[in-house]
């Protein structure tokens, strides 16, 4: 059968009992929510019929439409209109392409699903063709490292990890790092990431600190994450999730940059001792790299500004704010 003819094939009612329950070898669905589709089918019926292939002994295997079949089953229907391919009339690659294009025409694939597509295609197509043609189709850069990363995501055995990537609570960058970790470290990291809500940037930052500290102190990630201070932060009932995430990051930052953290703390103390008027702030340059600080004054009107400037000029404590790195100072 010519692959293009499938679009014009007439759907026939197929008993749900005759359809293999498994997602099928071409399925590219992961981490989906069936409810909107159930509601849609229940409200206006099936618009696009699934594609099945005869698999012998009267059973049908799903080529495209696993979710639709699932929705029909949920709605306790007896039959579903399907287009049927005869056994051996299409190649396995053609079945995969039918599924891929059927999906691409209606929705965006998540990262795990993209990995499923690439893994399946890689069984039949040369790498160069996947890079050149299919990666752009999936909105991915045509790079080998991206291809291998997505394929590794597909073959990841831990469903929790896959679900976390799909939910966005585990960034792809973090997933890439997990691949290189030993089991214990990986477990520690996943526990931390699942108990606290780090955003993608925070995850990147956390790993920067952890990997640097691992090298500096020759400690494993499990040892670093098992620090008593981390346990205290995690069990602190006065902190909410984002505050805990911030505190954990702050802890590792001060471990990674002790001199900088100390300088920042000293600076903050010095500034707080200046007794600045309300709405006036002194901000250090980024990492103290530029030799200047910045004075910020929040004011309503000129009179207010004048008052604050006068207060500042009368302060005899401003002179105590000196260059922190002067020799002997």
């Amino acid at each position: 059968m010519e692959i293009r003819k499938i679009a014009g094939a007439t759907p026939h009612g197929v008993g749900l009992n005759n359809i293999d329950d498994s997602p099928g070898p071409c399925c590219m669905s992961f981490g989906f929510d069936l409810k909107p589709l159930i509601l849609s089918i229940d409200t206006i019926g099936l618009i696009n019929s699934p594609v099945l292939i005869e698999s012998g002994q009267g059973k049908m295997t799903i080529i495209a439409g696993f979710r639709r079949v699932q929705a029909f089953k949920y709605l306790k229907r007896d039959e579903i209109p399907c287009r049927i391919l005869l056994e051996n009339s299409v190649s396995h690659l053609e079945c995969i392409l039918i599924n891929l294009h059927d999906n691409l025409s209606t929705r965006k694939l998540n990262d795990v699903e993209k990995g499923m597509v690439l893994s399946r295609l890689s069984l039949y197509l040369p790498e160069s063709e996947i890079l050149e043609h299919y990666m752009p189709l999936l909105d991915l850069p045509s790079r080998r490292e991206t291809l291998f990363l997505f394929m590794a995501l597909e073959s990841e055995p831990d469903v929790f990890v896959k679900e976390s990537v799909v939910r966005g609570s585990l960034s792809l960058k973090t997933f890439k790092r997990l691949l290189k970790m030993d089991h214990e470290s990986r477990t520690h990291v996943l526990n931390l990431l699942s108990s606290l809500k780090f955003n993608s940037n925070q995850q990147t930052q956390l790993f920067e600190y952890l990997i640097d500290l691992k090298h500096i102190h020759d400690k494993s990630l499990s040892e670093l994450l098992g620090d008593i201070s981390i346990k205290r932060i995690l069990s602190d009932e006065n902190l909410n999730m984002p505050q805990k995430a911030k505190a954990v990051l702050g802890f590792f930052r001060s471990k990674r940059f002790p001199t900088l953290a100390d300088a920042e703390s000293t600076f903050r103390k010095k500034v707080s001792r200046l007794g600045l008027p309300k709405g006036v702030k002194i901000v250090q340059s980024r990492f103290f790299e530029a030799p200047y600080h910045r004075l910020e004054i929040r004011f309503r009107e000129g009179e207010d500004l004048k008052k604050k400037i006068e207060q500042l000029t009368r302060s005899d404590r401003l002179e105590t704010l000196r260059d922190p790195w002067e020799e002997g100072g």
Partner: protein, 382 residues
């Protein structure tokens, strides 16, 4: 070349016509030669512009940048870009105003901290065989400004002497620069490849300089480089044969017991070198483009160079947090000055503020530092 060996030569289309190609190949008998036809692209003319490293991927979950540096492959190229270029300083920090003579890119040594790992978009030791022709143009530029002092070096994008036994660039460069009064040529190295220099009759306007570090860093991080002692022995030999010396403590690395380590190097200098015949000693701390870090981690997993407290500098590069830099500079300056009070010390890519605090004075800006170094040239060479 003692520590490395060329295993393959690549010839770009057209390079076989250059006399230098013939000479270089004659010094590599038995090394396979591969002719590359029709794959030259405009990237050859973008030699110094890109920071994208070559990436090689395997399916064993190693997706990181994996530069195929091809340190045993000599790639002969007819370079179409500028041969003489000013050092790419930045507005935020004071630069020495050096001129780079581009004779080659990449380096057979494998220092873990080397910026070249992330700097060039093409692998292999790339040697520019049209140097002889292009040198005329370079010398014309130098001759056209007789009142300006050109401080020229070949050691920015490669080690100046590492492949000299094969290229014999020194045979070409020494006579050309030695006879001019408004230029000095600095050959910067971590090797002991001084044979051709010693055989040369040219000394005037030539500076042979060595990059130095603590023994700990030299042994652990400067893979393929000569030992500190051997570098200084080679320096002594050059000095005793009439060459003016320079030294570069760059990159200084903050590591356990670094003070003790750098003092050991200073002791070795004292043992082998006459400080009177040193034109300058630069001091700089380790700095790197953020993109270099994953490359270093991958290529040198045991390295300690990334262990310090690095912050993003005003030029977007990572550098040690200021008080750490100040400690390093003050310590080196004080101890070098104890050795000799007039060594032409200068900081590489630092701010006026850091100059003042660590050196006790500042040239103020790049022009000021250039004047200071020009004066050193006049003092030493007249």
């Amino acid at each position: 070349m003692s520590n490395f060996q060329i295993k393959k030569v690549l010839l770009d289309a057209g390079t076989s016509l250059h006399i230098q190609t013939e000479k270089i190949l004659s010094r590599l008998p038995g090394v396979p030669v591969q002719y590359i036809e029709g794959i030259r692209s405009k990237r050859n003319n973008d030699e110094f512009g890109s920071s994208a490293p070559e990436t090689a991927c395997t399916q064993d979950n190693t997706f990181e940048h994996k530069p195929r540096l091809g340190k045993d492959t000599l790639h002969l190229i007819s370079y179409k870009g500028e041969f003489l270029k000013p050092c790419p300083g930045t507005r935020e920090y004071i630069c020495c105003g050096y001129q780079i003579l581009n004779v080659a890119t990449n380096c057979p040594l494998d220092c873990s901290y080397c910026i070249l790992q992330a700097y060039f978009n093409q692998p292999n030791l790339r040697v520019f065989v049209n140097l002889e022709e292009e040198l005329k143009r370079v010398l014309h530029v130098i001759d056209s400004e007789p009142d300006r002092i050109f401080r020229v070096g070949t050691g920015e994008f490669t080690d100046s002497l590492a492949v000299d036994p094969i290229t014999c660039w020194s045979d070409l460069l020494l006579p050309a620069f030695s006879k001019r009064k408004n230029v000095v040529l600095e050959l910067k190295t971590k090797t002991t490849n001084i044979e051709r220099l010693l055989d040369s009759k040219y000394r005037d306007r030539i500076i042979v300089s060595w990059s130095l570090n603590s023994p700990y860093i030299a042994a652990r991080e400067e893979h393929g480089a000569a030992s500190l002692k051997n570098r200084l022995k080679a320096a002594r030999q050059c000095q005793s044969e009439g060459y003016i010396l320079g030294f570069h403590f760059d990159p200084l690395i903050s590591h356990p017991r670094w003070k003790e380590g750098y003092l050991k190097t200073l002791d070795l200098m004292d043992k082998y070198i006459d400080p009177e015949k040193i034109i300058w000693i630069s001091i700089g701390s380790f700095r790197y483009m953020p993109g270099l870090k994953p490359i270093i981690r991958r290529r040198h997993p045991k390295t300690c160079v990334l262990n310090g407290e690095f912050i993003m500098g005003l030029d977007g590069k990572m550098r040690y947090f200021k008080p750490i830099r100040l400690d390093l500079y003050r310590f080196l300056r004080e101890n070098l000055e104890k050795w000799h009070p007039d060594l032409g010390l200068y900081l590489c890519m630092e701010s006026d503020d850091v100059w003042q605090k660590s050196m006790g004075w500042s040239p103020g800006n790049t022009t000021g530092l250039s004047h200071y170094l020009d004066k050193r040239v006049l003092k030493i060479f007249g």
